[in-house]
């Protein structure tokens, strides 16, 4: 997946989705990123609750070397790191409203409409991690770069 990379002078920025396993929610990971790797970060979206898997979308900014080292540090700690793609849309013709996507989405972007049980996709909750693309049996979810 091509990453979104912006070159600003010598610093580059990279948007990534971080999945925190339950056991790591309490670790001071972002603090280490600033202190040890001199990276700036912008939290674009976060959902972290104690005792559950956490999810954070961040933009990291720093020199190419620090950025690579920082990402390596994140992966080594056991975090799942995914590049953030641009946009996920649903092909309404293709969607059958089965609901296989619901438990795959880490951001809770899919929900069942009470009563009708039609599957709703919330654009604003989507973090564009792309996990639903291949988990959708009729392949109704589309990734746009």
């Amino acid at each position: 997946m091509p990453d979104k990379e912006k070159v600003t002078k010598k610093n580059i920025a990279k948007r990534v989705v971080l999945h925190f396993p339950k056991r790591m929610v309490d670790e001071p990971i972002l603090y280490r990123l600033i202190k040890d790797y001199d990276l700036q970060f912008n939290i674009l979206k976060a959902s972290i609750t104690p005792e559950a898997e956490g999810l954070m979308v961040v933009e990291l900014k720093g020199s190419r070397n620090n950025l690579d080292q920082g990402l390596k540090y994140l992966i080594d700690t056991g975090l799942k790191v995914q590049p953030l793609s641009h946009d996920v849309t649903r092909n309404e013709e293709r969607c059958t409203s089965c609901g296989a996507c619901i438990t795959v989405c880490p951001a809770g972007a899919f929900s069942l409409e009470p009563g009708s049980l039609i599957v709703r996709f919330s654009d604003s909750k989507c973090v564009a991690c792309g996990l639903c693309i291949k988990a959708c049996p009729p392949r109704a979810m589309e990734l746009h770069f």
């Binding site: 089965c98 619901i102 009708s116 009729p138």
Partner: protein, 400 residues
């Protein structure tokens, strides 16, 4: 007051039959009571829409000039292998067939973006499909190679013939292991992180006729958006499992073998399906009318999701190893609420079958019957019941 199928058909022809969906009958029976509802209602239409892997289609492509004998040769439709082992111009394609060069699970979990189910959908949608075939050549069928576009409108026959569809009930799949697993029940999150299920529940044909008192061999049905028939009991048909007091089975139980004219079907109800890490399949829409012959049959059709139970099974251990262990039972009402309780843990649920599309099928069938374009049929022979001696045998290996 008992009715016959013949009497109901007369009422349909006269436009005075009362037809309701499997969802509507629940409310009617609740309000009017079973006795009154059975007098009022003539037909209840059911529906189901989910991945049904044991599906496939037969084609007769017509004879080329000069002639080629496909039987005993090799044939591909859009690079997906078709079964060429009949006479000269007949082919079969199964929903799970994959192109020879598909990486499958070598690149785990495999994508399975295109397979036999997708070929069937493409044909039904009226799209051209590439047929490539090789044969050995005979005096009467000299040709050895054929490469041509084909289209469903030019075929002599295109027949959907599914060996096992419309499972009466199905497992709820969970994952007790520490890693994500990729199954035919969907992507299952580790440590009871999610549960996959697949049934239309209170809309599903065989839940609403749990002892097969009206659905039998020869029953005319809605199949893939067209008209089909129950051809036989489906493979793995097993009426013997445990049942609730209301008659509904608490495990897989019955299945249907169905057949119908593919040329009259629609891609809305036959959808090529890709199960990540598992394979390609076909999602099939089926609807079956249930004639309300008496109060007992009406009572079955009014069964609700809260009264139907499915077993919860670990697809990281018990299922692959064919161990009988179940982790509990949950109702379809609980499954549809979005959360079930397994081993004291709240587990989010995800369906593979579409409830809204199943409802749409039940509604469409209701309209067909209302308009007089679909009449009910008497079964030619019954499906085997719980006392029939029919059951589901595992494979006992005999190494040689």
């Amino acid at each position: 007051m008992a009715k016959t199928i013949k009497e109901i058909n007369e009422k349909i022809k006269e436009g005075r039959a009362v037809i309701v969906t499997a969802a509507e009958i629940i409310e009617i029976a609740r309000q009017d009571g079973v006795k009154k509802a059975a007098e009022k209602v003539d037909v209840v239409t059911t529906g189901t829409f989910g991945p049904m892997c044991s599906s496939g289609a037969f084609f007769n492509i017509g004879h080329s000039k000069p002639r080629i004998k496909l039987g005993g040769g090799r044939a591909y439709l859009n690079d997906v292998p078709a079964y060429a082992a009949f006479a000269a111009a007949d082919l079969f394609i199964g929903a799970n067939a994959l192109p020879d060069d598909d990486p499958r699970n070598r690149n785990y979990p495999g994508d399975f973006n295109y397979g036999g189910g997708h070929v069937i959908e493409d044909l039904v949608a009226g799209r051209d499909v590439r047929l490539a075939a090789t044969a050995y050549g005979t005096d009467c069928y000299p040709r050895k190679k054929l490469e041509t576009w084909i289209n469903i409108k030019d075929l002599n026959n295109a027949t959907l013939f599914n060996l096992r569809n419309a499972y009466q009930n199905y497992n709820v799949a969970v994952n007790l292991s520490d890693r994500t697993i990729y199954t035919y029940m969907g992507v299952l999150q580790p440590r009871l992180g999610s549960a996959g299920y697949s049934s239309a529940g209170q809309l599903s044909p065989l839940f609403k006729d749990p002892y097969y008192k009206t659905i039998g061999i020869g029953t005319r049905i809605f199949l893939g958006g067209g008209i089909g028939y129950v051809a036989f009991p489906g493979t793995q048909f097993d009426p013997t499992g445990p049942r609730s007091e209301n008659g509904t089975p608490r495990s897989g139980a019955a299945t249907l073998c169905v057949i119908g004219d593919l040329t009259k079907m629609s891609p809305r109800y036959l959808v090529g399906t890709s199960m990540l890490g598992y394979g390609a399949s076909l999602t099939v829409g089926i609807g079956i009318p249930i004639p309300i012959l008496n109060e007992e049959i009406l009572k079955y059709t009014a069964i609700t999701d809260a009264q139907i139970f499915a077993p919860v099974i670990d697809y990281s251990g018990a299922y692959p190893n064919r161990e009988p262990e179940i982790l509990g039972e949950v109702s379809y009402a609980e499954l549809r609420s979005g959360k079930i309780k397994v081993r004291g843990k709240s587990v989010p649920t995800a369906a593979l079958s579409s409830y809204p599309r199943a409802l749409e099928i039940a509604f469409t069938l209701k309209e067909w019957i209302k308009n007089g374009q679909f009449l009910l049929t008497e079964p030619v022979a019954p499906l085997p019941g719980p006392q029939s001696g029919v059951s589901f045998k595992p494979l006992t290996e005999r190494p040689f």
